[in-house]
């Protein structure tokens, strides 16, 4: 009997605790506008002009809108990366410039939730338009290259809301202070482009110096590619009392038009960003 009572009270206490957690955890729902800035670094190799990988160091900024509902998440994001691509080989350095404009729309539907809705799993689709402009004067008439990629992806995301309890702490073991109760949203996601449409120079870059403007995009073609890359992101956001959030994120993506493509394009971005997310209602 004693054992039954213990089990009963344990279950009851767990229920009470869970109820308390549900009550005290903030609801992450509504409309949000976020602004993130950071550093984007990665690799890029465009075999139209060079068989060598350039390392990119780009300033990153994005602005996004999110609608988080009970069952759905909708997100529209515009991101821009601007900076340099550099290569050092045989004591010679080569520097080019790169600008990326990335627009994507993401829709996710909740698959299941657990732990009193603290953890939610979503599955959905993403549409993306990615434009990269690269300029490398060492390539003379082929200095300027523009690529445009449209992706249709399937996306998975998991959201986890958790709480860090109030705690007495010591700074450097000397100064006592109290860490206040904090709430966080941990998000991790991955998206796989199912079909990508690469619009890029088919064989050579026509250049821009000895023909009139009409001819610059001759030689461009649109080629589809199945499963051409991968993108993942993880972020942790501290939820403030007014519903706004401070977000630190890391995201990574790579894409290629395929090893069999005549002039392969390969690129990746590792993006570290810090941002603010404003709850608008």
């Amino acid at each position: 009997m004693k054992n039954y009572l213990i089990i009963f009270f344990l279950l009851l206490s767990n229920l009470v605790f869970s109820q308390e957690e549900e009550n005290i955890l903030p609801q992450v729902s509504g409309n949000y506008i976020g602004i993130n800035a950071g550093l984007s670094s990665g690799l890029v190799r465009d075999l139209i002009t060079s068989p060598l990988f350039y390392t990119s160091a780009l300033a990153y900024i994005d602005i996004n809108y999110q609608n988080i509902g009970e069952k759905n998440i909708f997100q529209a994001k515009f991101a821009s990366h601007n900076g340099i691509n550099a290569l050092i080989i045989n004591e010679n350095s080569f520097i080019g410039f790169q600008s990326v404009f990335d627009f994507n729309v993401l829709w996710l539907r909740v698959l299941e939730s657990s732990l009193n809705k603290r953890v939610k799993h979503f599955l959905g689709a993403e549409l993306e338009n990615y434009t990269s402009i690269r300029i490398n004067l060492d390539f003379m008439n082929a200095a300027s290259c523009i690529d445009n990629i449209n992706n249709i992806s399937i996306a998975y995301q998991a959201n986890f809301v958790f709480r860090r309890a109030e705690k007495e702490k010591k700074l450097f073991g000397l100064i006592n202070y109290k860490r206040k109760e904090q709430f966080y949203l941990l998000t991790a996601g991955v998206s796989v482009p199912v079909i990508s449409l690469y619009y890029r120079p088919e064989f050579t870059i026509p250049g821009n110096a000895t023909l009139n403007d009409n001819n610059i995009f001759d030689g461009y073609s649109l080629k589809p590619k199945v499963f051409s890359g991968l993108a993942s992101d993880i972020s942790i956001s501290r939820i403030l009392h007014n519903g706004n959030m401070i977000k630190f994120g890391y995201s990574w993506m790579f894409a290629t038009n395929g090893k069999t493509a005549f002039n392969r394009l390969e690129f990746s971005h590792h993006i570290f960003s810090l941002g603010l997310v404003f709850k608008i209602n």
Partner: protein, 339 residues
């Protein structure tokens, strides 16, 4: 605990995904001389437009040059061999560029220099010639002819103001000479800007196409290139354009475009060619190169890559300076004053 599992799982997943990048990107590039040679040879084989036109057997070039390359060869020697191999293309738009050298095929050496700059300055431009942008100009033949020396399409972009000034100044002449001898080219946009002052209705000046794939005849469709008429000041008399072997690239584009105009004629030697747009690239060892990847067809349907033919072939008299007369300018001026 759940947080830890969730975080751990996320990190593991990200690590796995990140390693996908390494699998997808084959980062090992062979930068040794043999790989560099093979890469360059292959690029030319695939992308260079004039192998057939110039009757170059690129496979036999491989057989000749490949045995010269070993992986322990010095940079200088490698550069020399690759440069010589590229010069087999006989194309001024083909270069190999390293930090210590630039290979070139000097097209101007194919013909005599058809101009004496000192004579031009002393007799035709005179002491008080005008310098408007890249143009040096003055009246000749007692003010009946405008003489304009344009020595480079690459010094600057021609402005409408410069052309307005020149058109205004020489509006009452009976003819104009534009001298582009030894003009090695530059901005082709200047070709359109300059020609627009002699264009009264949209004029097709040539057709162009771009190499788009493997195979010697794999090109985009020929596309018409036009000079658009505008409402700027124009010159409506006859125009003589002076050319020689040193008139290359944009100068050849200008020269070949004149075939589309009834009131413009070419005087001098064949131009140097260079009607293929050069495309740049990089080799595995970091050196860069360029080569022609487009071709141009004149309005008569012919390819003048080996040199745009003058309407009147006149070579400079070897005694031009001592006789104090440029017989090419004099010929052009006489033609302009005919009728």
């Amino acid at each position: 605990m759940k947080i830890k599992i969730f975080t751990l799982a996320s990190i593991v997943l990200l690590s796995i995904f990140s390693s996908c990048e390494k699998i997808a990107f084959d980062k090992k590039a062979d930068t040794k001389p043999i790989a560099t040679f093979n890469y360059l040879w292959e690029q030319v084989n695939q992308k260079y437009v004039y192998l057939e036109y110039k009757n170059v057997d690129w496979d036999s070039i491989y057989i000749v040059y490949r045995p010269m390359i070993r992986n322990d060869i010095g940079e200088d020697s490698l550069f020399l061999i690759l440069g010589n191999m590229l010069n087999e293309l006989r194309d001024g738009h083909v270069n190999l560029i390293s930090a210590f050298n630039k290979s070139r095929y000097d097209i101007t050496m194919l013909g005599a220099v058809n101009i004496n700059p000192r004579l031009i300055k002393e007799k035709y431009l005179g002491e008080n010639y005008y310098s408007t942008g890249g143009f040096a100009h003055n009246f000749i033949r007692d003010g009946e002819i405008a003489y304009i020396r344009y020595s480079s399409f690459g010094d600057s972009q021609i402005t409408e103001y410069e052309l307005d000034y020149i058109m205004e100044k020489y509006a009452n002449t009976k003819g104009m000479i534009i001298d582009i001898r030894q003009n090695g080219g530059g901005y082709a946009t200047n070709v359109f800007t300059l020609l627009s002052r002699f264009t009264f209705s949209d004029t097709k000046i040539y057709e162009t196409q771009i190499k788009k794939g493997l195979g010697q005849d794999n090109f985009t469709i020929l596309e018409d290139v036009y000079v658009k008429a505008n409402d700027k000041k124009k010159y409506n008399k006859k125009l003589a354009v002076l050319i020689d072997r040193g008139s290359y690239s944009a100068s050849s584009f200008f020269a070949v475009s004149t075939y589309a105009y009834d009131n413009i004629f070419l005087v001098g030697d064949y131009s140097g060619g260079g009607l293929g747009l050069p495309n740049g690239g990089q080799l595995p060892n970091g050196w860069t190169y360029r080569m022609s990847i487009t071709r141009t067809m004149a309005v008569d349907g012919k390819n003048y890559e080996n040199g745009v033919a003058p309407d009147y072939r006149v070579l400079l008299n070897p005694n031009a300076y001592s006789s104090f007369s440029d017989n090419i300018i004099e010929f052009a001026a006489d033609k302009l004053l005919e009728n």
